[in-house]
Subunit: 414 residues, 2 copies
């Protein structure tokens, strides 16, 4: 019995699996890590009123004097220095980031200043500032105790800059997941090896998964090309590799051995040591996908199809659910609308994740499969070069130019 994609995803999100531990790291090493604590402001920033422009600090109640007799300039205050209080009728030259003196509350920007005989006046075409203009008040960025970053946030370069500003040298983040990959298939030949016959297939899944895991910021541990030999009575090499990964890793992936062939032993090993949550999902590609939880250690096990395109799509989608669960979050695939630009059909009623070319036209995503090969789950090249997954719903088989379809972005950036 096949489960729906939604039910499969939800069952991963809700499953009772062993969570990731946390660790203390230096903020500048935290790019792409996930916070396991909330971060609060330890002080007001800025700590005092600062000028946000180059210009002259003065008191707004001296505006009439500024317009007429002028204000006496008492020198200048470089950024980083504490100035003396400003007497009535005076002004102080300041720079972007300079502390403004007590007794001042407004900045006349340098472009609007007319200075003669050390007296500050308005230029003829000056824009008169409002009271408090061009001043960053104490605590404008944030105040002591404000929640600035929430548990579960991903650390981007902007979060790193904020942590620096906060003087938050150490932070608690979730540990990098260790993801074990068990690759099986007698037909596989490694990169660089000679293919001794044309029936052999060049192995790409370990490299695909290794790179996807690296992209996630996780650590990959690959046990490769374990032969399809399994003996129900004594542990085979496949079984012992599986058990090693189960011991060492936070997530275990298997590729191949998930469908109905006589040599698909992987699923037998999984069933011996784990409780199956689902086996078979009503999607294309990815129908043979399996999710299980190990009996003793409660570790998540994701059984992936053997074909590279299917492996990539299923891992991309379901790894988000596993990682969300491991880090105590609820994260769903981000579905966006895109306009189809040429006809597209499907032969199978299943929900399908179809590899499409993606571009942006007038602010709208546009997709088509014009340069893609007729889809099969083995064609990894279909996922290369600016590809998104179009979600073709269950039961609808024809899609026309102009249709708005849901898509999932793959490895894109802003």
């Amino acid at each position: 019995m096949l489960v729906s994609f939604f039910d499969a995803y939800e069952s991963i999100l809700k499953s009772n699996i062993k969570k990731l531990g946390s660790e203390r790291i230096i903020f500048s090493n935290a790019l792409n890590r996930i916070l396991s604590e909330n971060i609060y402001a330890k002080e007001d920033v800025p700590a005092c009123a600062l000028s946000s422009m180059d210009g002259y600090a003065f008191c707004f109640k001296d505006l009439e004097k500024l317009k007429t007799t002028g204000l006496k300039i008492l020198g200048s205050n470089p950024a980083g220095n504490i100035p003396s209080a400003l007497p009535e009728g005076c002004a102080l030259k300041v720079f972007t980031g300079s502390m403004i003196p007590k007794g001042s509350d407004t900045i006349l920007i340098i472009e609007d200043a007319h200075v003669e005989d050390n007296l500050l006046r308005l230029k003829d075409d000056a824009k008169i500032p409002n009271c408090y203009q061009w001043i960053r008040q104490r605590g404008d960025n944030y105040q002591k105790g404000d929640l600035l970053l929430s548990k579960g946030s991903k650390i981007t370069p902007f979060e790193i800059a904020l942590l620096a500003e906060l003087n938050q040298v150490f932070i608690q983040v979730y540990q990098r997941p260790r993801i074990g990959v068990l690759v099986s298939g007698d037909e596989l030949v490694e990169v660089g090896e000679i293919k001794d016959n044309i029936a052999k297939v060049r192995s790409s899944n370990p490299h695909l998964l290794s790179a996807m895991i690296e992209y996630m910021g996780a650590t990959a541990i690959i046990k490769e090309n374990v032969r399809d030999e399994f003996n129900k009575d004594c542990p085979s090499r496949l079984e012992s590799s599986f058990l090693e990964l189960l011991d060492e890793c936070d997530i275990i992936l298997t590729t191949g051995g998930m469908s109905k062939g006589d040599f698909d032993f992987t699923q037998e090993v999984i069933k011996r040591y784990a409780t199956t949550i689902f086996h078979g999902v009503n999607i294309k590609p990815g129908k043979p996908a399996l999710f299980a939880i190990s009996k003793v250690s409660n570790k998540p096990i994701l059984g992936l199809p053997g074909n590279p395109n299917a492996t990539g799509v299923v891992f991309f989608l379901f790894s988000k659910a596993i990682l969300a669960n491991l880090t105590d979050q609820k994260i769903y695939p981000k579905k966006l609308l895109a306009k189809l630009t040429s006809k597209l059909s499907k032969t199978d009623s299943r929900l399908e994740f179809r590899a499409c070319n993606i571009s942006i036209n007038n602010g709208i995503y546009e997709i088509n499969q014009d340069t893609k090969k007729a889809n099969t789950s083995a064609i990894i090249n279909n996922l290369c070069q600016n590809t998104a997954l179009a979600i073709l719903p269950d039961g609808i088989n024809e899609f026309y130019p102009g249709d708005m379809l849901e898509i999932i972005l793959l490895y894109s950036e802003g």
Copy 2:
């Protein structure tokens, strides 16, 4: 005279700067690198006709026999093995990825097979396959000589999988750019240092730029907190740091020292050694941004404002143009439409990149600035936690719920 954002961007894209060299690396180390060569298929993949399902290979002209007397099963062919030719009236068990024998052209999937006394027949409710169904033909993925990856492509995990399948162990990619950062400002105090007075500001720009550069896959070389002291006659520390970076790096960034203050010496140093392409852009934040090309070595120099939010936004936007130019590409910011969900106004007529919260609702991007602080270019926290930049056009100052605005995604993922 301020240039427009478009003109500034275009002038970077078109400028005559020293391009990045290329280097030869192993495919599995290539994540996020940019190809400097085209990649072509060296052979047909698959190399022979393979089954795409578990089932039985037979010849379609034996269909009547399959329906009636049945086909004699001549054993099974595991994946990776070359089978003998199939005589008329016979079938061979195959698995996903198995080579199919000469004399066969169609697969009966295992779910539709009825096997009794070593004879293959159709199950009662079987779906009769079409001729050639469930077979991947030689060259279905790609044929020898096909262009698979173009020069300028970014290597994602899918490209790595394809390179593995191609047995393309080495590839030519652009070298990682070395990006030098010259940070100035007397008011700055480093992370971990004691602030000796409240006028000091915690330094975040070097950490911000370092992380943004790491995110780009480039190498950062930081010369930090060079004092604002400059002597027109003899080289100061600022000047010698600048010259060191000019010598060592492919791109030079400076932060601070770009506006009109007496202490803004950085621009004087730049003007001494480089030709200014623009200084001053009609955008907010980022008005003081500068772009120059060094006189002797033709290296790009980007002068960034001193405030962290402005630095982050300007570097995010213009670094794409510099990197595109360095790698012989034309890349423009990806502008997407988003629906504004609450009122937003601006006080300055300039084109503005406003930090907004972003989410997805029914496939549509939605933005608002509900949790953002009143914008100033110093507030780095405004860029944290799922933020996109809304592009508020020049001359329009009020935006209402339901308006569709152009946005630029920052560090988001699929």
